[in-house]
């Protein structure tokens, strides 16, 4: 059942083709630049570059490639810090840095890992299932483009209020979209986040992270080199879906009086992508492609201009050779279409037959579109008539750069002064009720109802997944070499203080990775913000980038790539600044990874770190409807020491369980560690209260950073204590694992049977969505 490949195109249609010659002769034709998302000054710049008005096809290309989503025109000047603040020591493990489809990190033994997080926010609001599904598809193609086999995905998600009437539509659509696509690709989903907050009501955040594995020698880059080499488009056919996805959808705010943007959403076919993965890996193995680029935002416009400008500088393409799903598409639409599951490659004439044989084996359609030139021009023809004649650099790299005005919001001082002075439960019964309320709350409740819709087993290498602190996958079956990944962000912290919020997001992801025992190596980020045209949002953005770049330098982990998503606002109301930070760590052997739950009776439970009265921005304050003050302080030197302790303790077999303290503080960490395997503990907090000068409520609900709870075998206690003392890190024995009592017993305050806790913890999502 071979599907006919490389077929001759159907007869090219001669509808009013706006050729280059025609454009030169008719300078005064009105062009729809505004409808395509270009600003007037940007259109003028295009005319200046070309020395004439653009053709319809050229206008289509510039409009998508110069969109905020593709060109980073508002964020670029700030993002430069990620490069500027990288030291040589930080680059030690970096094989490919920012600028390619995804960064590549050396993890030893000749293995490398590529990983990246991206947003698919706007499409997922308009069409939740397809938006989320194609978000997974897009990030996975980025990973394939680097020459890697994708091995895992994660999904940090943010929804509006759990009880808002529109939330079920988004939760059901987005979760089943991620599951429907990811499960069909055979990629284990190993973690992520789920947050409910009314600020995301009209702007849910759907970020998708993918990880891939490759040998050093297999790294592939997106460039078109070698004059005379052939350019080929393969995978799914090009259709009318996703036209303007990057420009009019992802680069504008939603507004009630604007038309529905559903036609700008792409539609995914996971089976086509699965086949594309296998067929690309076979192409790489056979070394028959010189350069490769996935087709994502801006479709063929992006792939041709980026491949050409990154290589020998020129390309000649015949657009009527593109295989179409819909024969009525205009050349401009073909150039802009964001149809999924497509790739573009550069192949030497000598390898063309080998390339075709692999396509035929996998029944993948392809069409040869043209060849690499050294003319410095990207020439695109329609049935032999020239419709695009541009310097590809001007399309791909020389887009507008904006130094957008920004200023610190005037309301911020009042906000930061408004510290939490609400309800602080004191007696045992009230604390018990507070823990139950916390663990049943939308943000702290069990996410099993969601994560059980994702396959975490496929590929057989998943060593940890949710609800543990980080996802862990084995890379090398012989040695056990593997990686851990965690993504984190706290929009409330960032709203209160965007600089600190970014540092806290990195600190948490870094701590989560170290908690499993992995050594943090590199960072990817997805920066979700409101409109850059709002100076206050722009200030939040600038502060976030500054904070994240500084924190990366302090922790010695470089940003390897990521994504910026702006215009996440509806009407005039932006989302909280939400910098989702993903940290990748490495294990020599994943067999020594530390799970988050207790198991062994009698083991000692230690709390590492200091607890301060830091309730501002906390989950508890959130439950009491309060948002104000300053977020907890981020002490990155302390985080480094804590990480070193957790990593060494894991490597030397001193600890059998570890769980980081973050949202929900000690109350959440103890509850989760107990519920993980249904094993309880006897806990004493009075000594902690005395040492840190706090009350029991603060001990349980404060969100001070740099903390973790660990369980230590009796035989290892001396060694563990010695290590913490040597590193001068606060450590306190707060309890004992108790297999028999089946409860979280906070002695002298309350006892919470695990069954009661579990029932409350697991009921929330099914109550709202099942």
């Amino acid at each position: 059942m071979t599907i006919n490949s490389s077929s001759a195109p159907t007869e090219a249609r001669k509808f009013n083709i706006d050729t280059v010659a025609n454009a030169a002769e008719t300078p005064d034709v009105e062009l729809p630049w505004a409808a395509l998302g270009l600003k007037e000054n940007e259109f003028d710049r295009v005319v200046e570059i070309l020395g004439r008005r653009p053709t319809a096809a050229e206008l289509a290309m510039y409009s998508v490639m110069w969109s905020e989503h593709c060109s980073y025109k508002s964020s670029k000047v700030h993002l430069a810090q990620f490069g500027d603040k990288v030291t040589d020591a930080m680059k030690e493990h970096l094989l490919v840095g920012i600028g390619e489809n995804a960064g590549v990190v050396d993890i030893g033994d000749g293995w490398a890992v590529t990983f990246k997080v991206e947003s698919h926010n706007h499409p997922s609001f308009v069409e939740p299932y397809q938006g989320a599904a194609t978000g997974v598809g897009g990030i996975v193609r980025d990973i394939i483009s680097m020459g890697a086999r994708p091995v895992a995905i994660m999904d940090p998600l943010r929804f509006g209020a759990i009880d808002h009437p529109d939330t079920p539509r988004l939760v059901h659509g987005i979760v089943s979209g991620i599951g429907g696509y990811g499960n069909s690709l055979g990629l284990p989903n190993i973690g992520g986040e789920v947050v409910f907050d009314s600020v995301y009501q009209g702007n849910p955040l759907v970020n998708a992270l993918a990880v891939g594995v490759l040998r050093h020698e297999d790294i592939r880059l997106a460039n078109a080199s070698g004059v005379g080499n052939k350019v080929v488009l393969f995978g799914a056919r090009t259709g009318g879906d996703g036209i303007g996805g990057a420009s009019v959808l992802a680069s504008e705010s939603f507004d009630a009086d604007k038309p529905s943007k559903r036609p700008a959403v792409q539609v995914g076919d996971p089976f086509a992508e699965k086949v594309l993965i296998e067929c690309c890996l076979e192409l790489f193995k056979a070394s028959v492609v010189e350069g490769i680029q996935d087709l994502g935002a801006a479709g063929i416009s992006c792939a041709t201009s980026e491949l050409a400008s990154n290589g020998d500088g020129g390309m000649h393409v015949e657009l009527t050779d593109v295989l179409l799903r819909d024969p009525s598409l205009t050349p401009g639409e073909i150039l802009m279409s964001e149809s999924q599951e497509r790739m573009m490659a550069v192949v030497t004439p000598a390898n063309a037959a080998a390339f075709e044989a692999i396509m035929d084996k996998w029944n993948v359609e392809y069409s040869w579109l043209g060849e690499v030139t050294d003319t410095g021009r990207l020439i695109i023809e329609w049935d032999g008539e020239k419709i695009v004649d541009v310097d590809p650099r001007t399309v791909a790299h020389d887009g507008p750069v904006y130094h957008r005005p920004f200023h610190r919001p005037e309301w911020l001082d009042a906000l930061q002064e408004n510290t939490f002075d609400g309800d602080r439960p004191a007696d045992g019964n009230a604390l018990r009720a507070a823990v139950l309320e916390l663990m049943a709350s939308p943000n702290m409740c069990s996410k099993d109802w969601i994560t059980n819709q994702y396959d975490r087993f496929v590929q057989g290498n998943t060593a940890l997944a949710m609800p543990d602190d980080a996802g862990v996958v084995r890379v090398d079956e012989e040695t056990g070499l593997g990686v851990a990944i965690s993504t984190d962000a706290n929009g409330r912290y960032s709203y209160l203080n965007p600089y600190e919020g970014a540092r806290l997001a990195l600190a948490e992801a870094y701590r989560n990775v170290a908690t499993t025992g992995a050594k943090p190596l590199a960072v990817t980020d997805c920066l979700n913000f409101g409109s850059p045209e709002d100076p206050e949002v722009m200030w939040q953005f600038a502060e976030t980038v500054r904070g994240l770049a500084d924190a990366c330098q302090e922790l010695g982990v470089p940003v390897t790539g990521g994504n910026v998503s702006l215009y996440n606002q509806t009407g005039g109301v932006p989302i909280h600044p939400t910098p989702v930070v993903g940290v990748l760590g490495v294990f020599d052997d994943v067999a020594r990874r530390t799970p988050s739950g207790w198991r062994d009776d009698g083991q000692a439970i230690y709390l590492l770190g200091t607890t301060r009265d830091e309730l501002d921005g906390s989950e508890w304050a959130n439950l009491r409807g309060h948002l104000g003050g300053q977020p907890p302080a981020a002490d990155l030197t302390a985080e480094k020491t804590l990480a070193a302790i957790l990593i060494n303790a894991s490597r030397d077999g001193m600890i059998d369980a570890a769980h980081d303290l973050s949202e929900g503080g000690l109350a959440a960490a103890l509850s989760e560690a107990a519920l993980r395997f249904g094993v309880g503990a006897r806990i004493g907090i009075d000594e902690l209260c005395e040492r840190d000068g706090i009350d029991p409520f603060t001990a349980l609900f404060s969100e001070s950073q740099g903390r973790a709870v660990v369980s230590v075998a009796r035989s290892e206690e001396v060694r563990f204590n010695d290590m913490c003392t040597a590193r001068n890190y606060p450590h306190l024995r707060i309890g004992v694992v108790d297999v028999e009592n089946g409860a979280l017993d906070v002695q002298g305050h309350f006892t919470l049977p695990l069954e009661e806790l579990r029932k409350a913890h697991e009921a929330t999502l099914p109550e709202h969505f099942a």
């Binding site: 055979g186 089976f271 699965k274 029944n363 994560t451 590929q459 940890l464």
Partner: protein, 253 residues
């Protein structure tokens, strides 16, 4: 459970058993099935759906996944693959019939190929469901369950969207009457399957299909969080290995 892990295997002989693993373009758990065969001591042989040659394998696993995307009906297209025609013929060969195991999508393919009765429809709750699942081995006389004793319980991962086993009452009665219900869900029925059926066999017992994934419970550290015996450490469950040792031991006898 009485998995005979301490029985002295004749390693070279087990090693000589060649178990074919079929790969369709949308197969996902094929490498996992191959790993399970290796960990059980056998030799895994990759088989391509478009080939016409079974390469002299001694048994075949049709693994999980979405064979051809399954947009039409799970397994509906795969049954027409050239290799499936070979498998169907070899599996129906009387005394010396080829042992065939279908897991998840592989089970769906085997029902479409009429090697097994019944069919799978969407889970009654309409969601994809991934969880550790407890099963009871109802029939320990098949080619794929001889390492267990009837009544043994095992825990293996379950992960599917179209896992609800259905058949008409007469077929169900026949399956029950002939002892061809091989695995049954224990505890809450995860998908609405008729009579809690998780896996069945053909009359000869050489062809077995089940929806849960034994190949994901074969290696400590990468399996489910529990076994039938209780907690076994994080992802420590290996209850599924017996499925693969069963066929190897049968074939070296």
């Amino acid at each position: 459970m009485t998995l005979e892990t301490d029985a002295p295997f004749d390693a070279p002989a087990l090693d000589s058993v060649r178990v074919g693993i079929v790969t369709f373009p949308g197969s996902l758990d094929d490498r996992d099935a191959a790993r399970a065969v290796r960990l059980a001591g056998g030799t895994a042989v990759p088989l391509w759906h478009g080939d016409h040659d079974l390469q002299d394998v001694d048994a075949v696993v049709v693994p999980g996944g979405f064979s051809y995307g399954d947009y039409l009906r799970a397994g509906a297209i795969s049954r027409f693959a050239p290799l499936m025609e070979q498998i169907t013929a070899a599996a129906s060969g009387g005394e010396r019939a080829l042992p065939v195991l279908g897991i998840c999508n592989g089970f769906q393919v085997l029902t479409e190929a009429h090697l097994l009765p019944g069919s799978m429809i969407k889970n009654n709750h309409l969601h994809f469901l991934c969880r550790d699942q407890r099963l009871r081995v109802e029939n320990a006389d098949t080619a794929w369950t001889a390492s267990y004793a009837a009544g043994d319980e095992i825990v293996v991962p379950l992960k599917n969207q179209d896992g609800q086993f259905v058949a008409d009452e007469r077929t169900l009665d026949e399956l029950e009457g002939e002892g061809r219900v091989v695995f049954r869900y224990v505890g809450a029925n995860p998908n609405g399957s008729r009579r809690d059926i998780a896996g069945i066999s053909n009359a000869a017992g050489n062809v077995v299909g089940l929806m849960p994934h034994p190949e994901h419970a074969v290696e400590a550290g990468f399996g489910p969080d529990s076994s039938a015996a209780g907690l076994v450490g994080v992802r420590g469950g290996t209850d599924g290995l017996g499925i693969f040792t069963s066929v190897l031991k049968k074939l070296v006898k």
